[in-house]
Amino acid sequence: MDAKKIWHLIRFLITAVAMYAVWLLFSASFQPYSLIAGLIGSLLISALTYQEFIAEHEASLGSFMPRPIQLIVFLFILMFYLYQSSIKMLGAVFHGRVNPRIVHFRTRLRSDLARMVLSNSITLTPGTITLDLNDDHLTVHWFFCNTSHAKVAGEAVKGRMEQHLKRVWL
């Protein structure tokens, strides 16, 4: 067996395990009929679709497998930032002093999944919405803009989020 076949097998197994976990979560019953039906279904679907689930050109396991403890910590930090920025947004709704502006900047994260999570979380948090994500180039609509310099704006928007994400996905 050469390296390529092993890589195919690993991707197939990860897809099947993920499918089976989702089946267990949704069906929430441990009768033998449901367990066997879920196993057959998840094997069949993952044989058909594992090429799309994990792309061939992914570098290694480390680029898409998060570290579980760090991921949970990140989710709690995200909830905290969500409440903080929402209180700021409430102030803006009532006094109306805002300065919306489009800014462009780059990110240092490498894997596609981490970039997707970064753009999702900057859509959630400090009054910003990701308009476009093109390789490592982000276009962001920022609600409380105070600078137009790309690097300063990037640091202000990404903030500590990128540091936390680096710990989750390498």
Binding site: M79, L90, F94, V98, N99, S121, G127, I129, D132, F143
Partner: protein, 115 residues
Amino acid sequence: MIEIGRNIFALIAFGSAVIFGIGGIIGLFRFPDAYSRLQAGALCGTTAVISIFIGSLILAPTWAIAARIILLLFFFLVSSPTGAHIVARFAWNSDIQPWRPADQRRTGSDDRSKE
């Protein structure tokens, strides 16, 4: 005793949900263009719904309901910004200019520049 504590925490969560919900609805009507409305509506709406989830999680009668609410919370943290991003991307691709305050209008260069 435990019942009273649960009620108090649920009251706090639902109270913050009411405040953020009212803020989101006012934001939907107050701002002048689609991007700003999306900012206010999506951010305050997401926070209000998450507060409602936390309140329901405290009041949940059985463990099956509580586990499903936790799952819903994590999926909502993924799906809500995705929905907001789809709407923002539609507005961006259909050439809608972002609104600017009156004193800022001539300072910056082109916002909607196609490279």
